[in-house]
Symmetry: C2
Subunit: 125 residues, 2 copies
Amino acid sequence: MVKLDFAKSVDGLLPAIVQDAETGDVLMLAYINDESWCKTLETGKAHFWSRSRNKLWLKGESSGHVQVVKDIFVDCDQDTVVFKVEQLGGAACHKGYRSCFFRRVTDGELEVLGVPVFDPAKVYG
Amino acid sequence: MVKLDFAKSVDGLLPAIVQDAETGDVLMLAYINDESWCKTLETGKAHFWSRSRNKLWLKGESSGHVQVVKDIFVDCDQDTVVFKVEQLGGAACHKGYRSCFFRRVTDGELEVLGVPVFDPAKVYG
């Protein structure tokens, strides 16, 4: 199995960039430890380490918006990965947008681009 | 100016994903602190915090492969950014490849895709 250099970060977590396999849009960034890395490789579904809940996190376990991993790329230093995914449910962001990066810096302010795909209150209760 | 939540990380650094503005390819990931964030906004050239050299880092300061920032996106938690750039010199990776993510996980191994754009020994001396 491909080993990553988890010792490179102070907290043992490495960033995983999630990119739409079809459009190339960056959907989100989350963190992985060795357990979530192995789970992702084993299952083909994106798993992360939740820093807020301090536990293994199958993306979509609450919302159903699982990310089916089509390809994985590893960077030159083996301390960052890209998951190319099919985003089930149409949205990666817990605020209901397709991408977490739904705001652009425009004239020194954050401008919201796009509209939410779902209502977070309905999905997360 | 747009403020990021640098307190979210244990070392005060946040990840910046660098994406080719034209092709959507993810070129690299590096880290920013407040100083490099402000420098990027002020100059329109990607600046990072070098964790290995522990200093402000204008990407391309050694290689000439500066990244001209076309757009900046900020995520929902204000703890990750995407720089959409024009990559001067054709390559972002210090190993000479266009992208740092030049290896794909294939059958449990790392498979090199693509060929180097430049010879690192000639660029970095």
